[in-house]
């Protein structure tokens, strides 16, 4: 298997537990042990920002549970709400992993179709979105493996995307990547850097790429990534560091 070969080559850590290789519907069934709860919003050891984040997350979890229950009862409106809640994140994950807009859209749609079909196997013990991300990352890995076996290569198409824009946190003005680079040639330079970063990201080993996308692009917590990938904490952190070093070395010529 290409995936396991890649993993063997890039991961010399012998103590690391094997990551799931076979991806089918069984892989999307929830694990038996319930997912550990995140920090409580009223935990006094948290900073105000962390407390706010925890409260937001708890609210999101409650909302997801309600929607999943309704979906299990056959309410298609609940499915629509779930899709609309997570479509940007799943599509973003796919786009950063595959670097092809059409392919990413198809894959993201496939993920939600699997969710619709397999929702009966979701027992509601873990967070819905880690389950969703697990399906997405498995689907993505399978696709990359398939494309690799067919020697498929497509160029990075990010520069053409009209949607490659960053909505401001307050929902106000749209901020694009280029505006983060100061100077009169911000637009051109920003676009160029975005394409370079995406291209070098796409050149990384898929497991490294997944960790960087989950942690650094999408900002997921370590605990969530552990739930999604099945890695142990130490393994995750060391692999993430190696992935970052690899990307830094690839980007070094462009950062000077």
């Amino acid at each position: 298997m290409v995936w396991s070969k890649v993993s063997q080559v890039t991961d010399p850590d012998p103590s690391a537990p094997p990551t799931p290789r076979v991806v089918d519907l069984a892989a999307v069934v929830e694990p038996d042990e319930p997912e550990p709860a995140g920090p409580a919003p009223d935990d006094p050891s948290l900073t105000p920002a962390q407390r706010e984040e925890a409260a937001k997350r708890a609210e999101q979890d409650r909302r997801d549970r309600r929607l999943v229950r309704r979906l299990k009862e056959g309410d298609e409106r609940a499915f629509q709400e779930l899709v609309q809640t997570y479509q940007n994140r799943i599509f973003g994950l796919m786009l950063r992993m595959i670097s092809n807009r059409q392919e990413a859209e198809d894959l993201a749609q496939e993920v939600f179709i699997i969710v619709h079909r397999a929702i009966g196997t979701y027992r509601g013990e873990g967070r819905f979105y880690t389950w969703l991300y697990r399906i997405a990352s498995n689907t993505c890995k399978n696709r990359i493996k398939y494309l690799k076996s067919r020697n498929f290569h497509r160029s990075v198409e990010i520069e053409d995307s009209p949607q490659a824009q960053l909505p401001a946190a307050d929902g106000g003005a749209i901020v694009t990547f280029q505006s983060q680079v100061p100077g009169p040639e911000a637009t051109v330079e920003g676009k160029r850097m975005e394409v370079i970063v995406q291209r070098e990201l796409a050149a990384l080993d898929p497991e490294h790429r997944l960790l960087i996308v989950l942690r650094d692009v999408q900002g997921l917590s370590y605990q969530d990534i552990i739930r999604i990938t099945g890695l142990q904490e130490g393994t995750l952190k060391s692999r993430l560091h190696r992935a970052r070093v690899a990307l830094k070395e690839r980007l070094a010529p462009f950062m000077r």
Binding site: L95, A164, F177, V197, L201, D216, M255
Partner: protein, 169 residues
């Protein structure tokens, strides 16, 4: 893939945990621990005392500081990638695909069972027809009554039948 930073961090951090480790074991384990520590440091996930320890080590190594700075710059670039937005008709496409697959699977099922249904109906009809034909031939009680007004040609009248006919008064 060992960076200067990791090499710098590996030895002092590994020593307290494994007082007399064999050299080969240290070579295998220390970088991993240091890698993990660096990840946590970059993500500000270390406890204050651990972070202070890393900072002390960084202060002693300009190479490690340079590498850390490179990683931070790289992270700034990656974190600055724009969020992507799914197409506005994303849900409609998903719903359409689900409907199409559902219909397709029903259609396939229907296409698969249709020939068997037709065959079984034809078979039942054939068996019923054969049974009726055989039954009619063998059972005298169900023979059709003959029309008495129809003249039967004399040659065909059986002699036994005419002899047994009683004379009319």
């Amino acid at each position: 893939m060992r960076s200067n930073l990791v090499t710098c961090l590996a030895l002092p951090l590994a020593l307290p945990r494994t007082p007399y480790p064999p050299m080969s074991a240290m070579a295998e384990e220390s970088p991993t621990e240091a890698d993990a520590l660096m990840s946590a440091y970059l993500d500000e996930q270390l406890a204050p005392e651990e972070a202070a320890k890393v900072e002390k080590l960084l202060a002693e190594s300009p190479e490690a500081r340079a590498e850390l700075s490179g990683l931070q710059n790289m992270l700034k670039l990656v974190k600055g990638l724009p969020e992507v937005v799914a197409p506005p008709d994303f849900y409609e496409k998903v719903a359409r695909k689900i409907r199409r697959r559902r219909l397709f699977s029903m259609e396939i099922l229907w296409m698969l069972i249709l020939p068997f249904q037709v065959l079984s109906v034809v078979l039942i009809l054939v068996v019923a027809a054969l049974y009726m034909l055989l039954h009619l031939d063998n059972d005298p009680s169900v023979k059709l009554e003959k029309d008495p007004t129809v003249q039967v040609p004399p040659a065909e009248v059986p002699p036994v039948a005419s002899a047994s006919t009683p004379p009319r008064p």
